[in-house]
Symmetry: D2
Subunit: 238 residues, 4 copies
């Protein structure tokens, strides 16, 4: 069964930078949502400048997995919405954080660290190595795939050790990066996926699209009835 996905984008670069608009005329979110559709997954979109950033309770009630792209405007996301989304994740909603979303309030909140890293906008090629063959997120991929030009992200990446390290990237300049990383927080599954600088056509890349679709299926919630707190009487009586 396919999850119901909401793709969230701050949607600012596309409006102010013609170079980005040329690559993503309807916004990064539209490109990703369309790609999910081609993988058989229905996706709606939401953006920063909508009321409640497009993330009303009604929208989240109908969202199994949220995809997040942000960069320029992390601080414009209201704490109230961050609280709301964090709470949803802890209670089972899947979350896929893309590229510069590493610096979002939401991701930093869920990780407990700065999520800082090194970066360089240059002429690097990126090779993503599949370190988790057999994992649902790598289904249908080969042992590596190449993105001809991308922004470099380098270690040390200040995040908790991933529960599963799915990809490690190689960059021309000599750097490596943990580019695909799985976490569980509460009952929610989180996947961080590195590629996607706004000035490159990364979200048009077939393998990148496949990874996001696979991750959406992996991150969809499973339901078990676990109460997380309380003050119960004993189960066993001696």
């Amino acid at each position: 069964m396919n999850p119901r996905v909401t793709v969230w984008n701050e949607f600012r670069h596309e409006k102010s930078d013609p170079e980005v608009a040329a690559i993503y005329p309807d916004g990064i979110h539209a490109t990703i949502a369309r790609a999910l559709g081609e993988h058989g997954i229905e996706a709606r979109t939401a953006t920063l400048d909508e009321p409640e950033h497009g993330l009303t309770d009604e929208v989240l009630d109908a969202t199994d997995v949220l995809v997040w792209w942000g960069h320029l405007a992390h601080e414009e996301v209201s704490d109230e919405i961050v609280d709301r989304v964090q709470n949803r994740v802890l209670n089972g909603m899947g979350l896929i954080v893309l590229h510069s979303g590493h610096g979002s309030k939401l991701f930093r909140r869920l990780m407990g660290t700065t999520c800082n890293l090194k970066w360089r906008e240059s002429t690097d090629t990126e090779v993503l190595w599949n370190l988790a063959p057999g994992h649902p997120i790598t289904a249908g991929l080969g042992e590596h795939f190449i993105i001809d030009q991308e922004e470099m992200y380098g270690e040390f990446f200040e995040v908790p050790t991933p529960e599963t390290l799915v990809f490690v990237s190689w960059f021309t300049g000599g750097e490596v990066f943990r580019s695909g990383a799985c976490y569980t927080r509460g009952t929610g599954k989180i996947f961080y996926f590195r590629p996607g600088h706004e000035t490159y056509p990364t979200y048009h890349h077939a393998d990148v699209q496949r990874v996001i679709a696979n991750a959406a299926r992996w991150a969809a919630p499973e339901y078990s009835a676990v109460q997380k707190f309380g003050n119960p009487g004993p189960i066993m009586v001696g």
Copy 2:
């Protein structure tokens, strides 16, 4: 899509011990295969005394996930079949090891340790606590379930640290045990699940059956094209 499961049993207790035969008249394997069927998963069976222990290449070609129950006769399993099954697991076949299967050649081979533990056949009750709500193996379960009478298994359990610790058991006598443990070896997924002493009707327990069915779906192989060795030329040329 449901995996094709083969349930393997050494099938000796049931023939020699009337107490066990009363609980599992057709063998533990038949009870488990029937339960999988009720969960919509087709399962065949194989037993120690069949030619090649019932695990021919033809059978394994049609097996996505193998379930393993053994106890008295671990040493009668031929090294050739252990090699064959280990190789299948490393190349993607799922494996569910039940109860006393912790001492099997196959599980010890895949773990690299003795897999020793403490045990006691007595009047213990077992409470299994769900430590991985949100994980596919606990779908549909509550926060714990109880087996009124079971053999005690106690720590220290000499296995590698599980990648995911799904259940921890409580026993009346004061012991705890890591009762549900996930591993990846090569591209294959392995789940160890503790309950199932032959003198108790454990495999008739609805929650135990649900766990095995969930684990079979979780352990089913995902296909990606990864070559594990070789002597390739460079991908990037400076």
Copy 3:
């Protein structure tokens, strides 16, 4: 080389509750600091009602490992001090969080989850099982130790999966709990240790004291020169 430890306590129960004062006349912090001293580790103390909660930059400059006990007054800890201590941990200071400290702003911030759990003040006995023999935190311990009376904490404990699960507790009432849990955040090491309800003499227990002393040595910082962010030029030039 022994770390320099600061033991922080909110120090409220001891002033208002004669039952607690009878067990810890100088405060929980004093008992723990004294025990560390007996293990050869010098420890100072700090408490909530001191200026800056006793955690000035001068104090933290001289602290390799911080021990934290809080319960009633989590919300009285100022966000500024939480920011300061979190930043120290991410840059290498060790942190040992005790018992009800699971609900502190600091621990919740570093974990990214609610850190909720179940609890019961009753007549439970606690058996702590050593699941990490060979780990520095269990040096000198046996396979388990018993606390005759303690508050029960039960799963599900909403924290990220521990990097190392050191102890699991058994309680009379049928519950289990992940009672000793290691994390790394940034370059800092964190150990959560469950025991220590204020109405029981838990911090006078020899094995509890040994665990805290071992954990202090384990959590002491190691120094390597890693820059966590920046915008560097390439290392390799093709």
Copy 4:
């Protein structure tokens, strides 16, 4: 306190290949033992062609940590000695496996997988990135170090997921590799460290030497009294 280390080497390349002999005139083992000495750690050596491969019970009784280098002659190591060393590791002896030791009987036995990988002898430069700042094995290192020429090892490396991933290597040809990996098996600690092809002066590299010395201290046994199996009576009586 410093561990007592034994450095084991198959010591064949150095006798048959003048190029290797020029780099390691007394053998790889002698170079490593000397480097450990310069880090304040006393090390003895043992080699394949000694009786019992130099790994008698007397030698192992005086060994806290064993370092292993092998390549050409993995199959000449007797199963009896592999059994003996595996048993020592499961009971607390540290083990550092270097470079082509990934293919040794001992390492494959402890991992439960083939430990296969990709390789290329060419003109690659290796950059090792520190992914575990704050870990004892990286004490005193910077964020990366460079080996000007080395054999390439590439993913997929068929080993269990490391408990701690300490280093990831970058190679000129576009590959990455998990070059420093920690495991616990039984009560023993294991560190796999990639560099060290016999035709390059890798073990004369100051950072490589520092890593091996740090790893020896990290892998030294901690003593706790845990019985791994048995059939005990209950601890708690209801």
